[in-house]
Point group: C2
Chain length 415, copies 2
Amino acid sequence: MASKRETSTAVTDTAEDLVKWLGSFGQSKSGGVTRPLYSEPWMEAQHALQKKMELSGLETYYDSVGNLFGRLEGTNPDSNCILTGSHIDTVVNGGIYDGVYGIVASYSAVQKLRKQFGHPRKTIEIVSLCEEEGSRFPITFWGSGNITGNYSLQDAVGKNDHNGVSLLEAMKAAGFDPETYQNPKREDIECFLECHIEQGIVLEKTATSIGVVSHIAGQRRYTIKLSGESNHAGTTPMHFRKDAMVLAAQFITYLTDKAEQADSDLVATTGKLTASPNVSNVIAGEVTFTLDVRHYKKRMLDQFCREVLDHFHQKADHFGFALSYHTWLEADPVQMDQDLQAQMAAAVREENLSYQSMFSGAGHDAQMFGSFCPSSLLFVPSKNGISHSPKEFTSSQFLEQGIQVLTRMLYQLAY
Amino acid sequence: MASKRETSTAVTDTAEDLVKWLGSFGQSKSGGVTRPLYSEPWMEAQHALQKKMELSGLETYYDSVGNLFGRLEGTNPDSNCILTGSHIDTVVNGGIYDGVYGIVASYSAVQKLRKQFGHPRKTIEIVSLCEEEGSRFPITFWGSGNITGNYSLQDAVGKNDHNGVSLLEAMKAAGFDPETYQNPKREDIECFLECHIEQGIVLEKTATSIGVVSHIAGQRRYTIKLSGESNHAGTTPMHFRKDAMVLAAQFITYLTDKAEQADSDLVATTGKLTASPNVSNVIAGEVTFTLDVRHYKKRMLDQFCREVLDHFHQKADHFGFALSYHTWLEADPVQMDQDLQAQMAAAVREENLSYQSMFSGAGHDAQMFGSFCPSSLLFVPSKNGISHSPKEFTSSQFLEQGIQVLTRMLYQLAY
């Protein structure tokens, strides 16, 4: 590994080399990667990335929550900053492209421009953002949320990971002591550009190189706690039971059927379920499960979630269960900047590539920036549409094509 | 706690005192008890029980798997042994009466007899058996299975707990080194008597003091592994998904509906479910869940399980999921000895108590002994039928009534 990471600092790295290099931090046996926010592999990856940006001539720094910046100073002192990048935190056993590609694309584009044209008029900063996934702490976009002023330190209070470690403890352990917190909100961002793998199957199905994102779907995430009665699995007749596993199973089936009927662009998922006591010969007295619901129209999203939660409450009351839920993400659909969309489409044509306008079902940091500054999101194809999985893959060709388009846009915006 | 355990060695302990005393080993915050086989609290409880039996004049010893015996020698050297007892291992956060009452009843009955009548003709042994629940290792009745020759050391191979600790490692850590294993199978057992809380609601509903168990329901336990495809919760359209959580939910609903229609005495439970990666924004690629099915007629039990598993396989194949299952318990229904049932009924009448004949939906060590030697099982009422829960409760009066009947039976059998 060491030698691999040595050689990776060569200046001739392709985008694929760089993605694989970052994928070596937190690599799982299955070939995937587990790199939760503030974990050791996450810190190693941030530090390695910082070193790499410094070696390539960028000034680097962290803000108070651990967002890493690599700055190429503009010659015009009065200019605002063009921000570009993505995130390196991952889901558990996720793929190596998600998030990382956006950072690699920004880094590669800036390298090309610096070598060919030197310093830009306007400052360009590459950013590696914190907790885009929300897979360690229930606060997605923690990094971009701080930069855009949607979050500040108080929003971290009471947020714990699956092991009961608090977000504040984890920040401190990673070297970002909440005691020294200075609000990372920026006032000097002119626009934000992000490249990302599609994580869906649309571009592949339509044999298109580039997706120009028009808007990002809104998301609602809930944690639902259902309490029945734990009892002996052998001596409790079926009709005397309050089995939380059984009612949770009915809820998941209801949710899925309703989502399939609602709208072909709506998705609803229970990805996480925890039963208690979770023993084979004991009726589950309590089940906690998550809901993740997404659509690009706010009205449709709100109505669907309201109807689902109403149904859950009615059934729980009817069968004498206690039900409570916690809403921990309410992200409304976000439009990407229309001028930047047009500029991206033009850049794609100038590179003689194919593109299509599309919406994103996945959340991205660009949606935090979308309501803060003109923002733009570019997709490259994902093989079989698979992501958040070790099977995640995008060919070297597509990776480089996305970088060509980003490079052209950054040139037009900053030089 | 220490002082509590001190005073508990007084000879005037009531059954309730003794149950609460043993309940103090592995006590959980919620007032329940978690005392898995070979764990520290389990060993502490066994050692405390051993000390108590020695103080009361019994010879004590362990066999190679950790079954603890307290022996009151018979005056007739040619006599076989009357074995009586139960278990002290518990489910996670279970109640304090399950298993423990049977040991307390045997201990109390033997104390009364020894004080009043001295040594019996036939040897009486009190036994505290290992892993009746199967809640740490997937091998229920490990202790009674060794005594009756249903299990030996080779059956322990490959059995791991939830943390991946093997049964053999755990035995060794608890002081029962597999290297020194000597087969605990007994040739000198004349009969086995067990007292237990009902763990059901029948005796309470019928206001009856004693249940004379006619037979113990058979059980089948399976672990089922369902593999679909892990993918992004936001970008994978509903109709492209292979969501293992969704299909598992349908299976649980199917199982429950079918059990409710099958027979009022049949019970089927999924108590344990584990999803992977178990993250809110990732479609579950894999779900593993348990089946626990019980009925007192072998044919009904076999047919039900066959039909359920066939259905699971058909649906999994139809939707393109991989399904595998492991059968880790196949216990057929077991008859209790009819002469001992008649003798117990007579003993109840002599004590001027009420009784009824009933079957047991729960598994008990008596079912291992049932096909090995004449065996008998006595129930006392459980409040609200609740067990395997901190809410488990049986009144002091019922505890003592069960002991009256056991004392009378042991007198008739051994003196």
